[in-house]
Symmetry: C2
Subunit: 495 residues, 2 copies
């Protein structure tokens, strides 16, 4: 009876949360410019309701009572345990702090936009200082054992710690630096697809086709254009992706759609009957990102993928691809080139962008770096790790939206995603007979089903390290990423 009440309450809270998600999706994808002011008021009113309902004392009492209920199944127990954890975390926030943070974020986002316009970090710095101070206050409020940054990472990657990430990244740095050195000593292959025009509407057709092949269910989702590619959902049966067009680069929209499609398969793979429950939600950003990157990189940048899909590309762009081969596409799609902008980075150097941000954030939060010194620290690290000189703030410290939104503790999840992806893909390759051949034939369904069964269906019933152990038999291990990337680059760079 009271578990039923728990389900009903959770579903109602989810109804509000998903309504906010729709208001936000519409804002990014459909809304006319002048609708912004009323929309912000609508989102704010619904957010207050969601917060009130999920911190309601009666809900708390129900959760505490259920936590003592010995008659619950393992799965029910786990749902209650996670909801109670979420509830108690929410209760730690006092409303003055929430209000102040939300106001500061709003000002800080405006300041970041102004700073981008002026191409001048100094315009943003005072507000970032306020954000950092508030996030430190938040870490204290939430409490933590060893490092305040752990409390912030918990929002995005429950269970992740500075100790764990520091150790992981230390190995990553060494290993990827060695690979990068090797690449710098090799002749750079030519991108034979560059310098031509690829009409957006034709690229769009390819992405729709690829999403279908991946098993993305268009009766339970849709793709639209938006300035920034993202995936959002309003239930497991309405999961939407967005993409963007760059007519000078045929690989950009394609890989962004496959990436978001990977996120979408995760959301569509959650069980409909778990709507509103922890079992009906994704584990963490790192595991979510593992799904997008598995499809984008392990599948979408493989030679097998191109053997199958080059035909599609050349059917749509016969002029631009005249005389070119699947192998040329594979090469062009895997060129490694240190650069300034994270979102345009290749599969290898990407992780340096992340490790730099992780290190800087951590130091800001622990107080060993001041915002005034952030820009210099940023530029030094880019020079050290990627050997690139940052020519302007917009191409440097101002490039990401995250800090202006108050999101600190987020970046590491992108790299974790890549590493989990390689480890899952390695296991899938062992368990699915002839996976590489399947991909070469464009048959992605065995892989999609494997992910559905081994990861998606459980939602949050297992946490990130548990699901990793359950699926692969061991903890997150960077060696799988190395073993995945190195042989591929050996082909591209003819080592």
């Amino acid at each position: 009876m009271s578990y039923q009440k728990y389900i009903e309450t959770n579903r109602k809270i989810a109804d509000i949360g998903y309504s906010i998600a729709l208001l936000s999706w519409d804002q990014e994808v459909m809304m006319p410019a002048k609708g912004a002011e009323a929309r912000s008021s609508q989102i704010s009113t619904l957010s207050v309701i969601a917060h009130e309902w999920s911190t309601d004392e009666r809900y708390g009492e129900l959760l505490h009572a259920l936590a003592e209920d010995k008659s619950l199944s393992w799965e029910q127990k786990r749902n209650v345990e996670l909801s109670l954890r979420d509830y108690e975390k929410q209760k730690k926030y006092n409303s003055d702090f929430v209000k102040k943070l939300s106001q500061t974020i709003s000002k800080s986002f405006n300041a970041w936009q102004a700073a981008r316009k002026a191409n001048d970090f100094k315009v943003f710095a005072p507000l970032l200082k306020e954000i950092v101070a508030l996030k430190r206050e938040e870490a204290e409020m939430l409490t933590y054992e060893t490092h305040p940054y752990n409390a912030l990472m918990d929002d995005y990657e429950p269970g992740a710690t500075v100790a764990q990430i520091d150790e992981l990244f230390a190995g990553v740095k060494v290993s990827l630096s060695e690979m990068l050195d090797k690449i710098n000593q090799s002749p750079q292959p030519k991108n034979l697809f560059a310098g031509k025009k690829y009409e957006a509407d034709k690229q769009w057709k390819i992405t729709q086709e690829l999403l279908k092949k991946m098993g993305y269910d268009f009766d339970a989702g849709r793709q639209d254009y938006a300035p920034h590619p993202f995936c959002t959902s309003f239930s497991a049966k309405d999961v939407r992706v967005t993409t963007r067009a760059d007519e000078s680069d045929v690989f950009d929209m394609l890989s962004s759609s496959v990436h978001e499609g990977g996120h979408a398969l995760y959301e569509q793979g959650l069980l409909e009957e778990n709507y509103g429950l922890p079992a009906g939600s994704a584990i963490s950003l790192g595991i979510h990102e593992s799904q997008s990157r598995l499809w984008e990189n392990c599948v979408g940048r493989s030679e097998a993928f191109w053997k199958n899909n080059f035909q599609l590309l050349s059917d749509v762009f016969p002029e631009q691809t005249k005389g070119l081969t699947a192998h040329d596409a594979f090469i062009a799609d895997n060129i490694i080139q240190p650069s300034l902008i994270r979102v345009q980075a290749d599969e290898l150097t990407y992780h340096f962008h992340i490790m730099i941000r992780y290190e800087l954030e951590k130091r800001l939060v622990e107080g060993s770096l001041e915002v005034e010194d952030l820009k210099d620290a940023w530029n030094e690290m880019y020079l050290k790790y990627l050997k690139v000189k940052v020519p302007s703030d917009n191409q440097g410290v101002l490039q990401d939206i995250h800090w202006s939104h108050g999101s600190l503790g987020y970046f590491a999840t992108y790299s974790l995603g890549s590493f989990y992806a390689a480890q899952f893909f390695n296991k899938a390759s062992q368990e699915i007979a002839d996976l590489d051949k399947m991909i070469e034939r464009g048959n992605y369904l065995p892989l999609k089903n494997w992910l559905n069964q081994n990861i998606h269906q459980y939602g949050r019933l297992f946490d990130a390290s548990e699901i990793c152990g359950k699926v692969t038999g061991e903890k997150l291990n960077f060696k799988y990423f190395k073993e995945y990337l190195e042989p591929k680059l050996a082909k591209v760079y003819q080592w």
Copy 2:
């Protein structure tokens, strides 16, 4: 202070209402099929909140206190008075009734769809019987002075009464029957645009152009395709229209877009600062419809309109319009032809479709007609007024969605809209110098501004009969519709 509190409360209630509107718009326009179940739960949860907030006792106390506040301005007083009226009406509903009605509507809508599939009214009749019984119960609950149907019309056209509509329609029937007889005795002009194909995307371009010329602000709205054309808003700065394409009829999408554009100009013409207040909402369905029909018919089906826009049509469809003229378009767009389906009816016979429905609804509600006899009564009236024999239930009594949705008391507002439109347009023609010439030059802004200033900006500060008196100096008077339509038909039918 407490008026400020009133504004804030109203805005929050509006935030919920507009969020529901977005969830519904998305459902009609964007949502993938499988999203329906979760969406219905989301809409239902938000609807409960909207109802709870707008019937909250503390809100009621605030309204009662403000109703006694002598310091309020006239406009503030009027807002409070209307909110109090809405509040007290809402309080009359007991929650058991609301729940039962909503469940019955849901079943009834399914039954109507099944009946449409079977083309058999008998499948729908038992549920319609339940709906009628509940609507009679509702009328009793709401209380009324003379006729239960008045209580139901109040939802759509506050102030309208059976006595008033009966008197009005009696005159309409005589007058329009005379015109129809005359037409039946005249040779039918030929639609020279028929029998050709008009590509949807090209029609779309024309409608976008027309909406722009009308002064519809695309930075505060957008047009999309949907199965049924409609207009919805999420604030005065985000007002959206939908349209549909019929590639065999070049006039259908065009007039539907101009019609919805008229609705949209009303919503965009409400004042942003009145968001959530009665002063920021439309008066009634009849007045709303007057705006859409003024644009669709008085403007969009005038000879002056076609003199200006035929060029646009022939630029987009040069082959299909070869040898044809603006006058041919004017004729084709104004052919009168009694038919079976309301939404495809012309400007004259349309009102018979309405008067038949009004009469039948009224008799169902007062108990002088049983649902079992509805189909026969329908078919008899079609034969009597329009001289058409109804060949199947789908083309007869099953054609409209309204009853299955529990909307009884709605239909008359469509005709009221046409009559108000003619009366407003008559006044506008007197007050705007050379309005006909303006329309002939495609300059619609003086008309749009006149409507903004005389009608839109006031929202509900005046009721339907007050705004009619204020703008035109007299009560609703059918003679303006007759004086508008007859000379036009005289041209078309060469009387």
